[in-house]
């Protein structure tokens, strides 16, 4: 029961907190692409790969009191901060979660910005295309984000490193 929910809880328990809905989405997507056992369906949306299923799971976890969602005011915008609660930890003791050695990768992803994870997840999403085509996609679909060639190269470097470390 709630086995997929438990994996999200486990991630939060391991990391302490995740700041930003977008960051949580992209972290789960990238982890899934790296063959960690997340089973949500992702589709390409406004900020890249996005899962409605994951959004609802997160809301259900909040509703059950297993995680806390706090809105952080950042001046002209706000972001949501997620952390596991005691109730969530109790629940986690009753379920078996096996996400392998996800901690080093999850920590690395959690330490980077949502903006970069949006780019990285987009590169993962279009992985089957040539570098040239991927760059074209990023410059057209994410024109407003104004990503530079340097950032795209960095995303490719991460992709290779992450793949090698798994």
């Amino acid at each position: 029961m709630l086995t997929e929910h438990a994996k999200v809880l486990y991630l939060l328990d391991t990391l302490g907190e995740i700041v930003g809905r977008k960051k949580l989405q992209k972290m789960v997507y990238i982890s899934q692409k790296l063959k960690f056992d997340f089973n949500q369906r992702f589709q390409f949306h406004f900020y890249g790969p996005y899962s409605e299923e994951l959004t609802v799971m997160t809301e259900e976890l909040c509703e059950l009191g297993f995680i806390e969602e706090n809105q952080q005011d950042k001046g002209n915008y706000s972001v949501y901060q997620y952390a596991i609660t005691e109730k969530g930890r109790d629940f986690l003791h009753h379920v078996h979660v096996n996400l392998g050695n996800i901690l080093p990768i999850a920590s690395k992803l959690n330490d980077s910005s949502s903006r970069f994870l949006e780019l990285l997840s987009t590169v993962f999403y279009f992985e089957q295309l040539s570098r040239e085509e991927v760059e074209e996609k990023i410059f057209t679909l994410k024109a407003k984000s104004n990503y530079s060639h340097g950032e795209i190269s960095e995303a490719y470097r991460w992709l290779q490193e992450l793949r090698q470390s798994c």
Binding site: M1, L2, H45, V56, L64, S78
Partner: protein, 419 residues
């Protein structure tokens, strides 16, 4: 490029839109392809027919309906070129072509993705690709990108995939019509008449706000009354368990009375071939389920009999915070000789997410519905509509446990709190 027109317009009769008009040869040819005709054998609402007996309509009906709505939209959009119009129409027609039998459950168990199959059907070795390639060499890729939401022109993408798009408008009306419920109806003519291009999407003139309100409320009602109906969910649970059991038996080299050859590529962990996927439809799946009724494996035969004869699982409301109850039940089911992996299931709305209206606040991934105000400015819908405001972004949580009431012991009954 000027798309080729048919000598005279063709029409299909349709119970929802009255007529579906076809003028482009490409559309006519696409409808005739085997890959598109296959959609006749895939129901739009899967197991909903167990609850609403009228819900036997197919993805073929729906795809034509989405095409017709798109046709009405693009006819009025002067910002589009002739090729872009055809691109919108082909994308609308083909947006669901990758769906398989009982898609939702099938995809969950066998970890396939109908969007990925749609891309492969459009860009792979198929009749559909051949027809699209007659427009231009890169036309299949363009259609695939529009459906995959990665096409550069966001306005075109939004017509087929946004919070008010041709797909949603057709399925609400069509599903309401075939299920016989009243909830899904809204004034589509008014919405279409008041659509205007705005920035990278479509806006609705403010005078059409009440029609849009109806559309949003319809979505809300249809989800709870039809799509997430507990009886439909019960049939899905049995189907899921059937697929899981058949796969496990295959993995254990079980000797099936009739070898389920078309399903084997999906029982294996590797990717199936396009031809294998296209060979599969609901008629095939139902044939094997019917045969499984006579299998020696008692779990498989019991589940198959339940599915074929609508002996569905019963359900109770369940509060997941009581997770000790779940653990207890697992033990009690085992004691009773019922494998809980197949006879006890927890279900929550996250399994079938309802895309309720979102106002597009920071970090949300959906474009909001915009109203075009009399002074030319654009306003987000929920800022102007109290009705939409009241249901926007609000979840309803509804968790249930499913079990075979006819086989549970008194102890289980007591723990479940059922008489």
């Amino acid at each position: 490029m000027t798309p080729t027109l048919l000598e005279e317009e063709k029409v299909f009769k349709d119970p929802v839109h009255r007529y579906i008009h076809v003028r482009y040869k490409t559309i006519w040819d696409l409808i005739d392809t085997p890959e598109f005709q296959r959609l006749r054998r895939i129901r739009q609402l899967g197991t909903t027919m167990f609850t609403f007996h009228g819900a036997e309509h197919s993805r073929f009906n729906h795809s034509l309906g989405v095409y017709e709505i798109m046709r009405r939209i693009v006819t009025k959009l002067e910002v589009l070129t002739e090729e872009e119009r055809l691109l919108c129409l082909c994308s609308a027609l083909l947006h669901d072509v990758g769906h398989g039998p009982f898609s939702h459950t099938f995809e969950k168990v066998f970890k396939t993705d109908h969007e990925e199959w749609t891309r492969r059907i459009i860009e792979g070795e198929t009749e559909i690709r051949r027809v699209l390639s007659e427009v231009s060499a890169d036309f299949p890729k363009k259609v695939s990108e529009v459906i995959g939401k990665t096409y550069p022109n966001k306005m075109i993408v939004s017509l087929i995939s946004s919070q008010i798009d041709a797909d949603r408008m057709d399925y609400l009306l069509r599903d309401a019509y075939y299920t016989g419920v009243n909830y899904g109806n809204f004034d589509i003519e008014r919405i279409l008449r008041l659509m205007r291009p705005a920035e990278e999407q479509i806006a609705i003139k403010y005078s059409g706000m009440h029609a849009v309100e109806d559309y949003i409320v319809s979505r809300y009602q249809m989800y709870w009354q039809v799509y997430f109906h507990p009886v439909t969910r019960s049939a899905e649970v049995i189907l899921k368990k059937l697929f899981q059991r058949a796969k496990l038996l295959y993995d254990c080299n079980y000797h099936f009375r009739i070898f389920p050859e078309p399903l084997v590529p999906f029982f294996k962990d590797g990717p199936a071939k396009l031809r294998q996927y296209l060979d599969l439809d609901e008629a095939t799946v139902i044939y094997y389920i019917r045969e499984w009724k006579r299998e020696e494996d008692t779990i498989l035969s019991d589940l198959a009999e339940r599915f074929m004869n609508r002996r569905l699982f019963k359900y109770i409301q369940y509060q997941p915070l009581d997770y000790l109850m779940w653990t207890d039940l697992q033990g009690l089911f085992e004691d009773a000789g019922l494998d809980p992996a197949y006879y006890l299931e927890f279900d929550s709305p996250s399994d079938l997410p309802y895309d309720f209206y979102r106002s597009g606040e920071e970090e949300e991934e959906r474009l909001p519905i915009l109203l075009l105000m009399p002074d030319g400015s654009l306003e987000e819908l929920s800022r102007k509509s109290d009705i939409v405001q009241s249901i926007s972004g609000k979840r309803r949580f509804d968790h249930k446990l499913y079990f075979p009431e006819d086989r549970i012991t008194d102890e289980i009954r007591k723990r479940l709190g059922v008489n």
